[in-house]
């Protein structure tokens, strides 16, 4: 019984620590329950798609896909094009998705191929790959657009005649998804369509895990060598997992930005990778195990902290800036803490395995 409790505590140490911090910070912040619930509904609908896109690569044993930045870039390219062509409303969002799909697939294939060459170091490789592709993205957006790729909308082009402005107003698609089907429950506004889309993605993930491909991915995630000897095309399956994740991330970034209504051309994609990973880790996921409750629970915990900490910081030390620093420190600190805990847990498991083997050998020797 004591062991069970200890195991539960070890397995859920990150969400428990965050939950304790949140429970302590809520009364200090002075924010009302109603406000927090509404904020969580809004933030769940904004971020869930992106965070859920991280699950499939974890199933395939590729760790947390910091490469979702690649998908986000593809989504942003779609949004730049629809803004330039002045495609508005739901059509604009769908067209942005259609434009971003092939780009996301290509980037996913490239990412998967590179990660196959760096087996065992997927996470750091995907971070660096994100930086590399970010350079290519900046070259295209800052120099190519308006120069090589024709652009007609002067509002998004820099005054020199080429390159995209630092911030693009997405008023043509602002909250189109969120406001197209709204349900009022008491004082709360629920963006039903966005929630339904997220629900569909959750169902897809549940269904996908049961398919042959999903089972193959799980087998690869558990042991690549055994999966290979069982006849599974390991490298191809790993590439597919990254492609799916990148495509989902591109759609997720479009959903995210339509909710925000403004796109930071050169920064939006960089932030989401780190924050999405922090969110799923806070939800109790590890680099080897992630589920839908981890993703959704993580978003709630992470964003609760996001909303509460600046106010709590302001109330405690009289400066909102301190709260902001606290928020950044927590998000990066959580990633580091979880990765350390994951490594520590793996070492403990290996140690226990070695001890077990030794005991078997010793008992065999005695006989």
């Amino acid at each position: 019984m004591e062991n069970k409790g200890k195991k539960f505590l070890i397995n859920n140490i990150v969400p428990i620590v965050i939950l304790i911090m949140i429970v302590m910070a809520i009364p200090i912040s002075g924010l009302s329950g109603g406000y927090l619930v509404q904020e969580m509904i809004s933030r769940l609908s904004r971020n869930s798609f992106l965070v859920l896109s991280l699950i499939i690569p974890v199933v395939a044993g590729m760790g947390l896909n910091f490469g979702i930045v690649l998908g986000a870039m593809a989504g942003q390219l779609g949004l730049i094009f629809i803004t330039d062509w002045r495609i508005v409303g739901m059509e604009g969002i769908l067209l942005a998705v259609i434009i971003s799909l092939p780009i996301a697939v290509l980037l996913g294939i490239l990412g998967g191929y590179i990660l196959n060459k760096a087996k065992g170091r997927e996470m750091i490789t995907s971070i660096i790959m994100g930086f590399f592709i970010n350079g290519v993205y900046q070259l295209i957006v800052l120099y190519g657009m308006g120069n090589i790729i024709p652009m007609t909308n002067k509002k998004i082009i820099l005054s020199r005649g080429y390159g995209i402005r630092n911030a693009i107003d997405l008023k043509s698609i602002r909250q189109v998804l969120d406001k197209s089907m709204v349900v009022k429950v008491g004082e709360f506004t629920i963006p039903l369509l966005t929630i339904l889309i997220i629900g569909a993605l959750c169902l897809f993930i549940v269904w996908f895990r049961k398919t042959k491909l999903g089972q193959d991915m799980r087998a690869i995630g558990q042991d690549m060598e055994i999966a290979k000897s069982a006849g599974i095309a390991v490298e191809k399956t790993r590439i597919l997992s990254i492609v799916i994740s990148t495509v989902l991330a591109s759609i997720g970034q479009i959903i995210f930005l339509q909710n925000i209504g403004t796109m930071n051309t050169y920064n939006s994609h960089e932030q989401i990778g780190m924050f999405s990973i922090a969110a799923i880790l806070i939800g109790g996921a590890t680099a080897a195990k992630a589920s839908i409750p981890n993703a959704l629970g993580g978003i709630v915990l992470f964003h609760l902290m996001f909303v509460i900490s600046p106010r709590a910081g302001k109330e405690l030390v009289g400066s909102a800036q301190i709260g902001e620093f606290f928020r950044v420190f927590i998000s990066y600190g959580i990633i580091a803490l979880t990765l350390v805990l994951h490594q520590w847990r793996r070492e403990q498991e290996n140690k226990a395995e070695r001890k077990k083997m030794m005991d078997i050998q010793l008992s065999g020797g005695e006989k």
């Binding site: 629809i82 062509w85 495609i87 739901m90 059509e91 067209l95």
Partner: protein, 121 residues
Amino acid sequence: MKTIATRIGVVLAMILLGIFLFISGKEHAVFIENKGEKYTPKNAYYILDGKKEVKIKKKKKKREYLKGVNHTIEVRFKGADGIEKKVVKEFKTKMGKKITINVAMIENDSWMKIEELKSKK
């Protein structure tokens, strides 16, 4: 062979859907003016695609943005004889064309003017 055919089919369907979304979601600027040749009402009111009613004063011009191709305009004004009139017209927007609707002449044939958009360069 079947896989390749399916993939080509999916790509073609996506391209077709993209073209459809491009046409149906494209935003067009439409100019509404209230300036008749013989008679101009003091105030006219128009409703574009069933949205909210907008007032346009005598000899004024307004710019509106419309999504897609097929549209309707409902115009309400007092005629020269002092009787209130209400006219509903249908029109189409086209890419690269500038459309100006004259609400004062909505009953005439020349209520809509279509011009080529000037190059921005």
